[in-house]
């Protein structure tokens, strides 16, 4: 050793003759990409399992022939060639075959500008189709509020399937059938709105083509903008200001707050406000809720409720966690409520209809705004939800460029925010914003530093402990719904150490939502996140409680944070939701329609409460008493009352915590009463 320092000998392999170090890469593909060789792929995502289906990343491995580089582990001395005639030919043929049964209505496809199939087709130099097209049209599924599923554009890469299953723990779509009939479908080919999809849109984010896309609402927004009898206001979510620029070719993470406001004004919005205002409001409401539970021995940990995909997930899979969820409406829905209460005092409506449009980085927000609980007398609190990309499209439709616009400021009062409201856009942001409030409250004076580095980061499940005087606040931050399970298990076993848990369905948080402009840039997440934190730094206030407009708003309309008035307006409730619709397992024989209909829930919650045994006994009871022709028994999958199983319904009358005696008595009563009159048409 020359200097007495032992240098580890780097292991190397060769790509196209270049010697490259092996530094923990999972496969040859990663090494090649690191060396600047962009091997094409459809099915490779660094955050998903390796699938090896698309056969585009083929390389020639010396001594082994042609292999998929995503599935070859790097080895010292391995020699691969990424550019041989054979490899080029196979890649080209793969694309040609995909094109042969692809719905090639590219000019009318929303993804035509960001389609990987179109890009690769062009890259491979495909000028005509040598294979006869065998495309059989399949129906487009527009049932869901947030997403459109067009099977005609699917290339079967499976990215959506793995994202939904591995990252979100949902698995709403999967491969079905075989060979030429293969398709990615929801269970039983149901529509997306009849299965357990949480509308997070991660499938659309990873989809290389237009097979899964956010559902557009542009037309209804234009309609209201054109209507002379409306006053149309916009609320813009924090993440939009760091995403919109990418739609116009700016580098990821460019902050375009002022330009976005100007753009909304330019296309006809009367006022433009900031969702970060009601994010500040959420901090106060959720902060009060948290401190009350913390001090008063209430149910902890408190889960955040800003992410509608997470809320639906909890409603479907973790009914036991619903009492842990903050009752706060999300900032989007709080804005809807506040706007309708506050704005008539600030803008002369003159009898015109107030229309609230949300600009969101998210698809699940579309679903959230359409829930019944957020619609009063037919008037939704938030009328329309468009994504960042939809706003970009609206601007392009009228020929506006973002960088050609003179930046403008948000309108007051609902446009004023602290940095706490802005950082809602990143994973860990809600936690940090609430800590900036809670720590001050616990300590009794403003904290010296409002930056909580310990909650920032990229891991799917992070934890931190914050010491405030003699109190320790323990928090966890979850991104990707599959990571919730570990905490749900801890809560079930009574050993959950956390006081506050933030859950965001999208990895990275809202800045990486499915409504953001589509990108294949893996660095975008980090750049957008940094931009949000920078945006916080440039603001005058960093704590929600310091927002003077918010203080005024409370004083005039809601009293104190956490008051009765605030609770009535700004909080909501959750319900248990069944995952599969329209599936009942008939366990009786056929008969006539006037029989007594008994349904026994055999879903997970009721199963644990012995519903299967109850069902067995009930079948026995019906058979012993010769009631097969008069009593129709069926097993159903969820009555959305999971904590109170076993749930049974007799002629649609629900009985919870039902015993055999209860259901037998109800059957007897029903048999004794005359059949209900059949309504005349």
């Amino acid at each position: 050793m020359k200097n007495g320092i032992e240098q580890p000998i780097a292991e190397t392999m060769f790509v196209d003759g270049r010697e490259l170090p092996i530094e923990g890469e999972r496969n040859v593909l990663e090494i090649a990409r690191k060396a600047g060789i962009d091997i094409p792929t459809f099915c490779y995502h660094s955050e998903l399992s390796v699938y090896g289906a698309c056969r585009l990343c083929l390389v020639e491995v010396e001594g082994r022939g042609v292999q998929a580089s995503c599935s070859v582990a790097p080895e010292p001395g391995l020699r691969v060639k990424t550019n041989t005639r054979q490899v080029r030919d196979i890649r080209k043929i793969s694309i040609e075959l995909l094109l042969a049964n692809h719905d090639m209505n590219c000019p009318t496809c929303v993804r035509s500008a960001s389609c990987r199939l179109r890009e690769l087709s062009e890259r491979m130099g495909i000028e005509k189709l040598r294979y006869k097209a065998v495309h059989t049209p399949r129906e487009i599924d527009r049932s869901a509020a947030a997403l459109v599923r067009d099977p005609n554009k699917c290339v079967l890469c499976g990215d959506c399937v793995r994202a939904c299953h591995e990252i979100q723990g949902v698995g709403a779509i999967d491969f079905a059938f075989r060979g030429a009939a293969s398709a990615v479908v929801p269970a039983f080919c149901h529509n997306l709105d009849a299965v357990e999809c949480v509308n997070c849109g991660l499938c659309a984010t990873v989809c290389p083509t237009g097979a899964l896309t956010p559902k557009p609402e542009i037309d209804s927004v234009w309609k209201d903008l054109d209507d002379p009898d409306t006053v149309v206001v916009a609320q813009m979510a924090p993440a939009v200001r760091v995403g919109l620029g990418e739609y116009f070719g700016m580098p990821a993470g460019t902050i375009t707050t002022g330009e976005a406001v100007a753009a909304l004004k330019a296309i006809g919005f009367d006022k433009v406000y900031d969702t970060a205002f009601t994010a500040d409001m959420t901090v106060l409401e959720e902060g009060e809720e948290f401190l009350a539970r913390f001090a008063g021995g209430g149910r902890l940990p408190l889960f955040t409720s800003c992410c509608p995909a997470w809320v639906k997930y909890a409603e479907q899979y973790h009914h036991e966690l619903l009492p842990h969820l903050s009752s706060c409406k999300s900032p989007q829905q709080m804005f809807g409520t506040v706007a309708r209460r506050v704005l008539p005092n600030h803008i002369p409506l003159d009898g015109k209809r107030l229309v609230v449009v949300a600009v969101m980085p998210c698809t699940a927000k579309k679903y959230e705004a359409k829930q019944e609980k957020f619609i009063t007398d037919g008037q939704p609190d938030v009328d329309h939800v468009i994504t960042t990309a939809e706003l970009g499209l609206m601007l392009r439709q009228v020929g506006l460029k973002l960088d050609g616009l003179e930046p403008q400021s948000f309108d007051m009062p609902l446009g004023f925010k602290s940095g706490a409201g802005v950082i809602f856009g990143v994973s860990g942001g809600v936690t940090e914003a609430v800590l900036r409030y809670a720590v001050e409250k616990v300590h009794g004076a403003p904290p010296a530093d409002v930056t909580f580095h310990e909650v920032r980061g990229e891991a799917g499940l992070r934890e931190a402990a914050i010491q405030v005087d003699d109190v320790e606040l323990r928090v966890a931050i979850v991104q990707g719904l599959a990571n919730v399970r570990a905490i749900a298990d801890q809560i079930r076993d009574g050993n959950c150490p956390y006081h506050l848990v933030e859950v965001m369905s999208c990895p990275g948080g809202c800045v990486c939502g499915a409504g953001q402009p589509h990108t294949f840039n893996p660095a975008a997440r980090r750049l957008r996140t940094r931009a949000i934190y920078n945006s916080d730094k440039t603001l005058e206030f960093h704590k929600a409680q310091d927002n003077p407009e918010l203080q005024r708003c409370y004083a005039e309309h809601f009293g104190e944070a956490g008051s009765h008035a605030a609770h009535q307006a700004l909080h909501t409730a959750y319900r248990q939701r069944r995952r599969l619709h329209e599936i009942d397992l008939s366990v009786g024989s056929n008969g006539t329609a006037d029989r007594v209909r008994v349904r026994v829930c055999v879903g997970t919650g009721c199963f644990l409460n012995g519903s299967q045994e109850l069902l067995r006994q009930l079948i026995g009871h019906v058979e012993r008493n010769g009631l097969e022709q008069r009593v129709a028994v069926s097993a159903t999958f969820c009555m959305e009352n999971c904590g109170h199983g076993a749930n049974v319904s007799v002629n649609d009358t629900p009985i919870e915590r039902c015993s055999l005696e209860d259901v037998c008595a109800a059957i007897e009563t029903a048999l004794a009463s005359p059949p209900a009159a059949v309504p005349q048409l």
Binding site: F177, V185, R579, V587, T604, R616
Partner: protein, 177 residues
Amino acid sequence: MRVEEKQTTVDRETGSQTIGRSFEKVCEILDHHQRNPAMLIPILQAVQAEYRYLPKEALAYVATSLGLPPARVFGVATFYAHFALSPKGKYVIHVCDGTACHVKNSQGLVDAIRKRLGLSEDKHTTDDMLFTVETVSCVGACGLAPVAVINEAVHRQVSPQAGVAAIEKILESEEQA
């Protein structure tokens, strides 16, 4: 009509009669396999043995019990030709259409049987639920081509005439029964 939907239509009328007696059996099957998701395929095989097909209600119940997404269970059930998502007849006739059988006129055999039973490429099961006729890709008995398997019994070197004769024989025995 969507291609996908057509393949999964479940006949509730014919299905529900058996389900009543079979529900308990499904629970037993699940218990027998310790409700282990890794045992999905043996569980589906056993459930199909009970119902003669896989009703989607039963698939949903299996998925719920195993903690698997129903879409994944549906995917497995539709991947294997062995699994049926619509009710099958009492006699299931598999005509092999592998390479060896194909060159020995398996197509003529299928056509003759279908003609006798009023079935087609799209209609696999007779209205009286007695026969289901399907083609399969190689049963691994190429030396006996063309091969037809009626329920569990393997028939060798079946000419179109022999195939129809076998059906007549079954019809006769059914009439006597």
